[in-house]
């Protein structure tokens, strides 16, 4: 006595669209690779860029002197600025006075007398021409458009949310990283991050297309839930922000070594002295401003991670598996990542832990994310084992 009880008939796959999706994924991956190469050239040519910036600055200097002096009476006092620069151990971070302590006009009098600041602490555009970087950004934007089409087309081809397996997850995350980076570029001069962001994006695209190639298809019953859209999308958003902050925190550590070396005029270790000579680092904002921007993004990403993987994950697990939390390997790592970033937020408020130590926690957090996706998905069996891996 078998009654036909199936109510859901899944629509068939649009093969044509699926092929376009794959084609555009490849095209965008190629464009990103080109952009990455151009960013690398831009980085390698940073001394030329710096010479140009210095010339521009010199030309501007004379005319802008008075303007700075008359800065509408809101100029921060010299006292505050010198106090901030007297605490290099914490890179001035977490002092509750981020706004004023680090403005170019405040510091130009102090440590940076030998080398004028080339970048703004707020990462505003200063009108510096960097042709290679600019072409790279244009290529990235074109690539992102094709990439977005590829992701949407894949979703339409299968009539579902296009984040159902490892391939789609990587491609989707790469898209969000790129879009977040491009959106941030509209407001801030983040060209110094380009080589890192594009490097990561290219890695993700290569991992997706070569490591986990998966043809378009329907997903297994457990994944047919509206929660996938919220749960996985928030995870992707959080991860792309954590990716950006990872790059910024790494740069911050390098930059603060460099600042220390410059301050003590070469009395530091070998690494510091080498870093001090890296011209590229002069195009990177100060450690302090990298730190506070990384914090702002990390705070947003932490909320996404809390709501996404953690809370909606638990709700979905309750609906699908009958328990909201079961310490499946994926759940363990979601928890570990959350706790590490909670530790990061704490550290920034703990005396002795602000600045570079906190940055290490952010970097470790990103390491855990890599483990969660690269290692757990592939090697640890669990209920989350539907990464669509070839058997």
């Amino acid at each position: 006595m078998t009654i036909p009880v199936l109510t859901v008939q899944l629509p068939s796959i649009n093969v044509q669209l699926a092929e376009y999706s794959e084609l555009f994924t490849l095209i965008s991956a190629c464009l990103y690779t080109l952009a990455f190469i151009l960013f690398t050239v831009d980085t390698a040519r940073s001394s030329a860029t710096i010479r140009r910036v210095e010339a521009e600055l010199a030309a501007e200097q004379s005319s802008s002197r008075e303007r700075v002096g008359a800065a509408a009476g809101t100029a921060s006092s010299g006292a505050a600025a010198s106090e901030a620069s007297a605490s290099p151990a914490t890179s001035g971070s977490g002092t509750g006075a981020p706004g004023a302590a680090d403005r170019p006009e405040g510091t130009s009098a102090g440590s940076a007398a030998a080398e004028p600041e080339l970048v703004d602490a707020d990462m505003a555009y200063l009108g510096t021409r960097r042709p290679f970087a600019n072409v790279a950004i244009a290529l990235t934007a074109v690539g992102a458009a094709g990439h977005a089409f590829a992701v949407v087309a894949r979703g339409l081809a299968a009539s579902r949310w296009p984040l159902g397996n490892m391939y789609e997850f990587l491609v989707g995350a790469a898209l969000v990283v790129t879009v977040v980076y491009l959106a941030a570029l509209l407001r801030r001069d983040l060209r110094f991050l380009g080589i890192f962001v594009l490097g990561l994006v290219v890695t993700m695209m290569v991992a997706a297309t070569i490591g986990f190639p998966t043809p378009v298809g329907h997903v297994q019953p457990a994944l047919q839930s509206p929660w996938i859209a919220i749960h996985v999308s928030l995870a992707v958003l959080a991860i792309s922000l954590f990716t950006l902050t990872f790059a910024m925190n790494v740069l911050q550590l390098v930059q603060s070594r460099r600042e220390k070396a410059l301050e003590s005029a070469g009395g530091e270790g070998r690494f510091e002295r080498t870093v001090a000579r890296w011209q590229f680092m002069r195009l990177v904002p100060q450690a302090f401003s990298l730190e506070s921007w990384a914090y702002r993004l990390n705070a947003v990403a932490f909320v996404f991670w809390t709501v996404g993987p953690l809370i909606t994950g638990a709700i979905w697990a309750q609906q699908s598996w009958g328990r909201y939390w079961g310490w499946d390997p994926k759940e363990v790592w979601t928890f570990v990542i959350w706790v590490v970033y909670a530790g990061y937020l704490h550290a920034r408020a703990t005396r002795g832990w602000t600045g570079n130590r906190a940055a290490w926690l952010s970097i470790i957090g990103f390491g855990c994310i890599i483990i969660n996706y690269a290692v757990v998905n592939v090697f640890f069996p669990g209920l989350h084992s539907y990464a669509g891996l070839p058997e």
């Binding site: 006595m1 809101t74 921060s76 106090e83 977490g94 509750g96 006075a97 019953p221 909320v303 408020a349």
Partner: protein, 585 residues
């Protein structure tokens, strides 16, 4: 401000606040960078306790415990855990006879209920409570007391500005269209502007002997919600922990396999596996009933250019048609049970984690009697439902019989005598079995896994190695066993479903706490707590000079924007003299 004890000895933000405001004790300035090494005081037992409590509730300890918690959680993803799969744990221990027992003693297979993991999170939560209570008390006081006193030197604050206004008597009227306010008026205006920007405000006028206001200041603060959010977040975490624990204690979880046309009544004896919480009592089980009427599987049948597509045969949907009865007196109802769509019955939820095929077989023994007849649960091993089958027939005479092998829904001969299943649906169902006789070891009462047949002490009857060969049956076929020990008949195939029944009364409360935690987190992270002070004084020239300073507690990346906004409000309210004339700038 400075007299209040800080709720946190090592909160870097409070250090920064005090430093900027010039109210910090010299101690907090001195070791703002170096973590304070608290020396163990020789104060006797009570002193020791107080010292330990202070250490435990410090931010640094909380941070260490958090990081420790992260590290301690990791082994649970490396080693199999009993909460998930106790068979896997046993297999791991059997495979690693030296390391296994050691790790087991270290509770590496029960990480999340282990002594050490519990110790870490309990300490963390004690620290958390010891942290919230003084913090909440302090914040409660701050919310009800006046904004902090005006610092002596506003220009030391991170954001500072000053405006000089036109002379109140119109002495500057030639330069500008209107006269400036008196100090008293300016003070009132400043308070009004700050109030409009949603600050909580206190005006502090200074009067001369005549009672006129000659100077004064306004103290203002806003963003008290930031701290409220922070406290709500941490309290909610405690709530999550409490309800997770309570829920687990009163919960139960059980598993049952139901074959087509079979029913299940929610009672302890009916379960195949049952995992009660510590405080579970049997009368928590509501006697609802479920019966499996039919089961349908849907698989991907996508063809690409007439050929099976890349996901051909992948499962797309499972749906069980069931009849349920909430209680003995209730009407039976037709319902559908699907993945992601649990049924809610008597407070418990019913899920569909698995399904499979149950071939119906009849075994006759050497004396011609029916020793077994009915569906046998097989365990699907892969996407094509190649399923492991084990059948023990202890009632067979003169010898007990055992069968081990595979059920293949769509059997396909690979040519070398091995058959595999090439599709999950029943296109060519076949049984491929070996048979054994001897003592099955069931009579001495030791519990056995029904899905495993220990064949070491048995004699082989049928297998590919014996003359008789293996047993291969299609529906309707019967095969005689060698030596006249009986026969086996494959009658047909039924579907079965595995259901999970879970009951956890803490779920809703955990969810609510998680959501309030999120609300608190968002409020805490994205609200700005700001202090503003405005001082008003009369210059030697008789004009009114207004200075203002801003300070934030914690992160504030837009304090400068606040400065600019305040300034433009001031310029709207008052005739401000041009900056180059401004002697204070």
């Amino acid at each position: 401000m400075s007299t209040e004890p800080s709720a946190h000895r090592d909160n870097a933000r409070e250090d920064a606040l005090h430093a900027a405001q010039g109210t910090g004790s010299s101690a907090s300035d001195a070791d703002a960078r170096e973590p304070r090494q608290a020396a163990v005081p020789a104060l006797g037992f009570a002193g020791m306790l107080r010292w330990a409590w202070t250490q435990l509730t410090s931010m640094r300890t909380a941070l260490m415990l958090l990081l420790l918690l992260a590290v301690a959680a990791v082994p649970g993803s490396v080693f199999p855990q009993r909460v998930q799969d106790s068979f896997a744990v046993q297999a791991w221990i059997d495979d690693n006879p030296t390391l296994g027992p050691v790790l087991d003693a270290l509770q590496m297979f029960d990480v999340y209920s282990s002594v050490w993991f519990s110790a870490i999170y309990l300490l963390l939560f004690i620290s958390l409570i010891g942290c919230i209570i003084p913090r909440a008390r302090k914040h409660w006081q701050q919310m009800r007391s006046a904004p902090p006193r005006t610092p002596r030197r506003l220009e030391r604050l991170p954001e500072y500005g000053a405006v000089e206004l036109n002379h109140p008597d119109g002495e500057d009227a030639a330069e500008s269209s209107r006269p400036g306010p008196t100090p008293e008026q300016a003070l009132e205006d400043a308070a009004r502007i700050l109030r409009k920007r949603r600050y909580r405000v206190e005006t502090r006028p200074q009067r001369n002997e005549a009672g006129e206001v000659t100077s004064g200041s306004v103290g203002a603060e806003k963003g008290y919600l930031k701290e409220v959010g922070n406290i709500l977040f941490h309290v909610s975490l405690v709530g999550v922990l409490i309800f997770v624990a309570l829920g687990a204690m009163f919960s139960y979880r059980g598993q049952k396999i139901i074959v087509e046309d079979e029913g299940f009544v929610n009672a302890l004896v009916a379960y195949d596996n049952f995992y009660p919480g510590t405080w579970f009592s049997e009368d928590q089980l509501e006697p609802f009933m479920i019966r499996l009427d039919g089961f349908e599987r849907a698989f991907d049948r996508e063809l690409v250019d007439g050929e099976p597509g890349p996901h051909y045969g992948q499962a797309l949907d499972f749906a069980a048609d069931v009849t349920v009865q909430e209680g003995p007196g209730d009407e039976p109802e037709q319902r559908q049970l699907r993945v992601n769509h649990p049924l809610s019955l008597g407070g418990a939820n019913v899920y569909l984690p698995g399904n499979g095929y149950a071939p119906v077989v009849t075994v006759r023994d050497g004396e011609g009697e029916v020793a077994f007849s009915g569906p046998v649960i097989t365990r699907p091993d892969d996407g094509t439902y190649s399923s492991m089958m084990v059948l023990k027939v202890p009632d067979a005479q003169p010898e007990q019989l055992g069968f081990v092998g595979l059920f293949l829904p769509t059997a396909h001969d690979t040519g070398d005598g091995m058959a595999v299943s090439v599709d999950p649906e029943l296109h060519n169902p076949q049984l491929h079995l070996n048979s054994y006789y001897g003592d099955l070891g069931l009579d001495d009462g030791t519990p056995q896994n029904v899905y495993v047949l220990e064949t070491e002490d048995l004699e082989v009857l049928n297998s590919r190695e014996t003359d008789a060969g293996g047993i291969v049956l299609s529906p309707g076929d019967t095969q005689e066993l060698p030596n006249g020990l009986g026969s086996i008949e494959f009658e047909g195939v039924q579907d079965y479903i595995a259901i999970d029944i879970t009951y956890n009364p803490g779920e809703t409360a955990v969810l609510i706490c998680a959501l309030t935690a999120t609300a608190g987190l968002v409020t805490s992270l994205f609200t700005r707590r700001r202090r503003a002070w405005v001082t008003v004084e009369r210059t030697d020239a008789g004009r009114t000079l207004v200075r203002y300073g801003l300070l934030s507690r914690g992160e504030d990346f837009s304090l400068r924007e606040e400065n600019i906004a305040l300034r433009s409000e001031f310029e709207k309210a008052w005739p401000v003299r041009a900056p180059e004339e401004n002697t204070e700038s």
